[in-house]
């Protein structure tokens, strides 16, 4: 006997009230998209999504499901008719699939009260059979294998193996945000954190050629491909930032350059977010990490957003934990490639860690930045990834294609 389905458990979804149906529908859709290459049937109800294996090896299917947000746990399940001898045999064969497990415990949920034995009686009957026919012992406190039997009118579900999913919410339910992507270590991790929580991200990058290398764009494409695992369609918009950056360095005293540059970036990001109907702007900032990421700096920078929400998913994360996460999602090795982005190219010798708003406003009066911002917005190019591959983007780039 082989396990015949995977059971997907919802996490925080179960706390949802009237919205729950919509969340489940979204998750079912995402699961079906993720499992398309496997060609497996699936079905969803109030409490679980069932993926029918049809003889397929569950391991790669589970690995893929672990990349889908909104899944708390994935159990390997066998479904049998609610007859004691079938339940006993199935339990033993499931246990035998768990290499190395010697001790077990049985938890019974008797939803169908018509079953002749009560929960304790079922547990004892199945355990007796396992002890008699296999080399196992019972351990109620720290079992190596926890067998779950759920008796429902349509059959008995047996599982003894489950794996943790990503958690969070299904992607697409919470709207989308505009994520600033630099190519460094932090921003891809921030993007992943948002996606995990069910928030669709659209990325924005500020390119300052020739101060930044064209190789940064290749690096960003690799990052998009990595994030694409978690969000099936992802796009990056690249804004030409050179002229604005040059104007900042020509007009603003050096210690304020980074602050003003970040204010311009947020202005651009908010404008792009509104244009793309995103509900917030997100950054990979972490409090205290660099001069522009002190609370004072953040306040002065955020002022330009004019109460448009700015999300900082990593704001209290330590660098080491960010690095650890970036390794886990596979972006670390891409991020550390040695190309400059526009934040590292001109490091002021003494950046202001506690900038003053009045001074910022004063310096910004010195040049017509609005015109330069408009120019940036007009020069946007778009890169789209779907299913791990770069695809032709909708919108901007089409104009350049031959008719």
């Amino acid at each position: 006997m082989k396990p015949d389905m995977l059971m997907i458990h919802y996490g925080e979804l179960s706390t949802k009230g009237d919205n729950k149906k919509a969340f489940v529908t979204a998750l079912l859709h995402n699961v079906r998209v993720a499992l398309k290459p496997f060609g497996l049937e699936s079905k969803g109800d109030r409490d679980h999504i069932y993926v029918y294996l049809g003889g397929a090896d569950p391991t790669p299917v589970i690995s893929r499901l672990k990349e889908v947000s909104g899944i708390q746990r994935i159990s390997i399940v066998m479904k049998v008719e609610p007859k004691m001898e079938l339940i006993q045999e199935a339990t033993l064969s499931l246990l035998q699939e768990e290499a190395g497990a010697k001790s077990f415990k049985i938890d019974v949920k008797r939803v169908d009260k018509r079953f002749p034995l009560d929960s304790y009686g079922i547990a004892c009957a199945v355990a007796d059979y396992v002890l008699e026919h296999g080399d196992y012992e019972v351990d109620l406190h720290e079992p190596e294998c926890k067998v779950k039997l759920t008796l429902r009118p349509e059959g008995c579900y047996i599982s003894c193996h489950d794996e943790l999913g990503l958690g969070g919410y299904p992607l697409g339910m919470i709207g989308k945000v505009t994520m600033l992507l630099s190519g460094g270590i932090d921003s891809p991790v921030a993007a992943f954190s948002l996606i995990r929580r069910g928030i669709r991200v659209e990325c924005l990058h500020f390119a300052s050629p020739p101060y930044t290398s064209a190789a940064v764009i290749d690096k960003l494409k690799d990052i998009l491909a990595a994030l694409n695992v978690y969000q099936n369609d992802i796009k990056l918009q690249v804004l030409p930032f050179t002229k604005l950056q040059d104007a900042i360095y020509a007009n603003v005293p050096e210690p304020y350059c980074i602050t003003i540059m970040r204010r311009m970036m947020i202005r651009l990001a908010v404008a792009m977010a509104k244009k793309n109907r995103a509900l917030a702007v997100a950054t990979g900032e972490s409090i205290g990490q660099v001069a522009s990421q002190t609370l004072e700096s953040m306040g002065v920078i955020e002022e330009v957003a004019d109460s448009f929400p700015i999300l900082r998913p990593l704001c209290v994360e330590d660098k080491l934990s960010i690095i650890e996460k970036s390794k886990r999602i596979g972006t670390y090795d891409i991020s550390i490639r040695p190309y400059e982005d526009c934040c590292t190219i001109f490091k002021p010798r003494r950046p202001k860690t506690k900038p003053k708003l009045e001074e910022c406003l004063e310096y910004e009066k010195r040049f017509d930045y609005q015109r330069l911002i408009d120019e940036c917005l007009e020069g946007v190019t778009t890169i789209c990834f779907s299913g791990g591959q770069e695809v032709l983007s909708e919108g901007e780039n089409h104009a350049e294609l031959p008719q």
């Binding site: 050629p209 020739p210 101060y211």
Partner: protein, 378 residues
């Protein structure tokens, strides 16, 4: 496109590709096989070997091994000699500005096998002076390795004088990495005990090079296996690549003189055009420098930014050398020449081939002037 990065690699000549292609199609048997098809390849290989040695004028005294390129040739020269002759002495001298494929094997021999390695200081041109070499020579030195032309600056070493000093010590061999020198400067090959070069720097193909060595030299091989190439370089010999290498060498040496005059005029025009810019010329401009390579330090700008700006316009140059590009490290070659750290971090290398034109130099100059004006200083 304007390609001014020929010290990194060159465009293969059509004749070279033709030789490679027809040998790949027609002579695919293993040249070590003893059947007629294999023997025919074996004969071709020996003819390529002989032609190579003839072109250098050293067939009477030297032998040639085909291998994957100058890096492998340098590794075999250093490790092969060191291991083979370590009972004569355990001291090796290399210049401080050698390519990493000489420096790193030397450092490895020092670190892992207890050899005493001296990295000889260079003068402000980047040359090892005969006096410096003489001062470090003693009876324990078994190998001196000094490059013919430096890959970052084009500096030429006086190989004749240096080898003469070495040869006063009968137990010591003189090796030279000629990767940037072949076909570009005049060399008396007969004074060298060993020398290395690579195909793709002389309009040949990537993946092939040769080590030429005096017939009395015995190596401990780096690659062990089937015993090809006199047992010194096991691996099925890439016959089409070996043939392509001797073809590239033939073409390169035949046109060396004419090319030199042409490239000199390119460098002249370039330098005239740069007279009023805030740059420092690192390369020697007299007979101590090959006109093929010009190293310039930008005094006010970041070299990587200017390189990127040129690249956007389809003009390709390097920052110091291709191997160390994109790392924010000062060039060790320039530092060794006494160049200050800022200049050593912001060097651009313009390297020519005979295919470049004066028109290209003028286009380069106009882009270069504009970028230096437009781009924010560092």
């Amino acid at each position: 496109m304007i390609y001014f990065d020929s010290a990194a690699s060159t465009c293969p000549k059509k004749e070279v590709l033709d030789v490679f292609l027809s040998a790949s199609q027609d002579e695919y048997a293993n040249p070590s096989s003893s059947h007629a098809f294999g023997r025919s390849g074996g004969r071709l290989l020996e003819s390529a070997r002989k032609q190579t040695l003839d072109l250098f004028g050293v067939s009477a005294t030297h032998q040639a091994i085909f291998l994957s390129g100058a890096t492998e040739a340098n590794n075999l020269a250093l490790k092969g000699i060191a291991f083979s002759y370590q009972n004569r002495g355990k001291k090796i001298l290399v210049s401080a500005v050698e390519h990493p494929s000489v420096l790193e094997p030397a450092r490895y021999l020092a670190k892992a096998f207890g050899f005493e390695v001296v990295e000889l200081p260079v003068d402000s041109y980047g040359r090892v002076s005969p006096e410096t070499l003489q001062a470090h020579m003693d009876k324990d030195v078994i190998l001196v390795s000094i490059m013919g032309v430096n890959n970052e600056t084009g500096t030429i070493n006086d190989l004749k004088a240096l080898s003469q000093i070495t040869h006063r010590y009968p137990k010591c061999f003189f090796h030279s990495d000629l990767t940037q020198a072949i076909g570009k400067v005049e060399i008396d090959f007969s004074c060298l005990d060993l020398f290395s070069f690579s195909g793709h720097k002389i309009h040949g193909l990537k993946g092939v090079g040769a080590l030429i060595y005096k017939k009395n030299i015995r190596f401990v091989p780096v690659l062990h296996g089937g015993g090809q190439e006199f047992g010194y370089r096991s691996s099925t010999v890439a016959l089409p690549l070996a043939l392509s290498l001797s073809k590239a060498l033939e073409l390169s040496l035949a046109s060396a003189k004419n090319n030199l005059a042409h490239v000199k005029s390119l460098r002249e025009t370039l330098l005239q055009g740069l007279e009023n810019e805030e740059i420092r010329v690192n390369s020697p401009l007299d007979e101590a420098g090959s006109p093929y390579v010009l190293s310039l330090s930008l005094l006010r700008h970041k070299a990587s930014v200017i390189m990127e700006g040129l690249s956007e316009e389809g003009i390709y140059v390097s920052t110091s050398s291709a191997c160390s590009a994109s790392l924010e490290k000062p060039s060790y070659v320039l530092l060794s020449m006494g160049v200050d750290e800022d200049s050593a971090k912001n060097a651009i290398r313009v390297s020519f081939s005979e295919d470049n034109t004066l028109g290209e130099v003028r286009l380069f100059l106009s882009s270069f002037h504009r970028l230096l004006k437009e781009i924010h200083a560092r």
